[in-house]
Symmetry: C2
Subunit: 369 residues, 2 copies
């Protein structure tokens, strides 16, 4: 465990970076937040796969960047062991399969592979992979900054005298999930920086409580007023005019605008539609899956260990502790994502600007796809 | 702590009964389920108010019956202390105010008071109160049995060859919440008894996990196949055709059919409507509030201690344990109920039969109101 500072002594603002030794990757172990800030070294591809599968790192953009850095580790191992490109590609395939829903992972791994392949020299692969991974991380950070810029006017337009703009978000699509700024949080951070008064309703986000643990931690560190609520609460808040705007992230968005995101997002989108609250999805374009148009039928939904539902991780008396909440004999099911149909989405906030969640308007922003 | 048997040695099937000493009331401490079955003596009105407020007893019908037994305790104390009807009425007022949303509580307390008032003799009050409380408890049990009978054909109509009828429920509207059979569970138990194959999706029901703790415990004891899911999951299940029917209970239903129930019910009703899954509310007529027509504007929603959101109670290594899941500095809000508008409800299952959730059809079943 290391102190809560980034390499060089600055305040943490990224969840992943190359270790000072130039060989490993370092990440914040997000399973232990908000109770402990623990930095972990990932030394091998297996370490990266474990970090992704165990949710030590999570969030579509960060999973992608982690995969990119994983290819760097694979390239180092291949170069050191005198193995060829085949070995790196084999490891890349394993990395890309670590989680099925996140399209960024396959995309980022392929980007780094492509950069390596161009050289034709395994000895050059580690350096090329490192540069490609850094480029992807920096590009994701820049994309998130731009998502913030494009989302800012949406929040500014909702600002009224004498009360904060009240935003609801689900799960964690903050800088912990991305590389900097976050996706759903980028407009929030941009609005706070622009002096807009804000209050954020943070969905706890069962079963793994990414909202209660991670988004609340981020917002508290950023000085953004916020209140944690059970996932059941958002509909009531919207019915009573207590939410001006919903912004969520996404794990995969189809070319027609359907959004796969953390389980429960669909329920909030339904409530937003029923109560006329604008519902936005913020995403970098790497989250689009251009090959898919029908999100409900075509996006595979990951099923995770039912024990994530049966047990809750928390903090008691200065130590992490896991408690069981169900009867010992009762089974549980754990679907990790759901798909919000495009018809329920007011707009998509991307690094290129805001568009409607439909194929034509998405293509207007991304004509090359 | 006593063994898991009812007085007389039978299997527990009611959550409240008069103690064998003829002076106290005994209840199952529902906060400690499913991990421990603990029977607690309630000796005073304050004990009953504490049991209601702390959720040792919960569920609209049981809260009502608890209030009724509370008036019995007040009558015993008044008779023993040589005090008059005023003292009993003062205690009854305190009982009726213990929880704001449950209309049954005020109704049941008033019923027992009415029975006492008729005698004009404080010495006779304890006996009259006991009989009135017993009558209310038996009537609630009979109402729940009839709810089961009326709901059974709805489930039978959904039975198909070679697969179970898949029912989703939220919170606990089982016998623990009622007196016997439950409300939402009554048709489920009736269908199981009639040989219909069933599978129940149990919403965990944050923040107090009444589904994961209590409904799962009840169904496991009753041998009903079930799976616990995070509250976020129901929309996904309905989108994918994995739910045939939603049945929930209610804490208060307006004369026009709006239903106040555990927070999050509205979100499931929205998903059911969006996916064409039938959504039923099961309730005894004591849950109707005939004085109210606009549930969203007129039903006060209880706000409970935010620590119920920030902390989770569970079981670890043979002991009950409470863990914090949020950052220490992050506030939380805890709205206990929401209102599902009548337009989202397929029907109401009452002890008199099934009706649509609208003023006319409700009045058809209850013409005397």
């Amino acid at each position: 465990m290391q102190p809560e500072t980034a390499p060089g002594g600055g305040r943490l603002r990224r969840p992943i970076w190359p270790a000072p030794d130039g060989r490993a990757v370092q990440v914040i172990d997000q399973r232990r937040l908000p109770h402990e800030t623990v930095i972990v070294d990932l030394n091998t591809v297996d370490d990266v796969i474990h970090a992704i599968r165990s949710l030590m790192v999570r969030g579509a953009p960060l999973i992608g960047v982690s995969g990119a850095w994983g290819v760097w580790l694979a390239a180092q191992a291949a170069a050191a062991g005198g193995r060829g490109f085949d070995a790196i590609e084999e490891e890349a395939r394993r990395l890309a399969a670590a989680r099925p829903t996140a399209v960024n992972l396959r995309w980022a791994v392929e980007c780094v592979l492509e950069a390596i392949r161009r050289s034709g020299d395994v000895g050059a692969a580690p350096g090329l992979a490192r540069r490609a991974a850094e480029d992807i991380a920096d590009a994701e950070a820049e994309n998130c900054r731009r998502i913030g810029l494009h989302g800012l006017p949406i929040i500014q337009a909702l600002a009224r005298d004498r009360r904060p703009v009240r935003i609801l978000t689900h799960c964690n699509a903050g800088w912990l999930a991305c590389v900097e700024h976050g996706t759903a949080t980028a407009p929030i951070y941009a609005a706070a920086a622009a002096g807009v008064e804000l209050h954020v309703w943070v969905d706890e986000t069962r079963p793994l409580n990414q909202g209660a643990r991670l988004t609340a931690w981020e917002l508290a560190r950023g000085g953004i007023p916020h209140t944690v609520v059970a996932d059941n609460t958002g509909g009531h808040l919207m019915q009573h005019g207590m939410v001006d705007l919903v912004i969520v992230g996404a794990d995969r968005v189809t070319a027609a605008g359907d959004a796969a995101n953390k389980i429960g997002t669909y329920l909030k989108a339904l409530a937003a539609r029923d109560t006329q609250v604008p519902f936005y999805v913020a995403l970098p374009s790497s989250t689009f899956d251009w090959s898919v148009t029908d999100g409900l039928r075509q996006i595979p939904i990951e099923e995770r260990d039912p024990d994530e539902v049966r047990f809750v991780d928390g903090w008691d008396g200065g130590a992490a502790r896991r408690v069981r909440i169900t009867p010992a004999e009762s089974p549980a099911a754990n679907y990790a994502f759901d798909v919000t149909p495009a018809r329920l989405i007011t707009g998509l906030i991307t690094e290129r600007g805001v568009c409607r969640a439909d194929a034509d308007d998405i293509r207007r922003l991304f004509p090359e796809k």
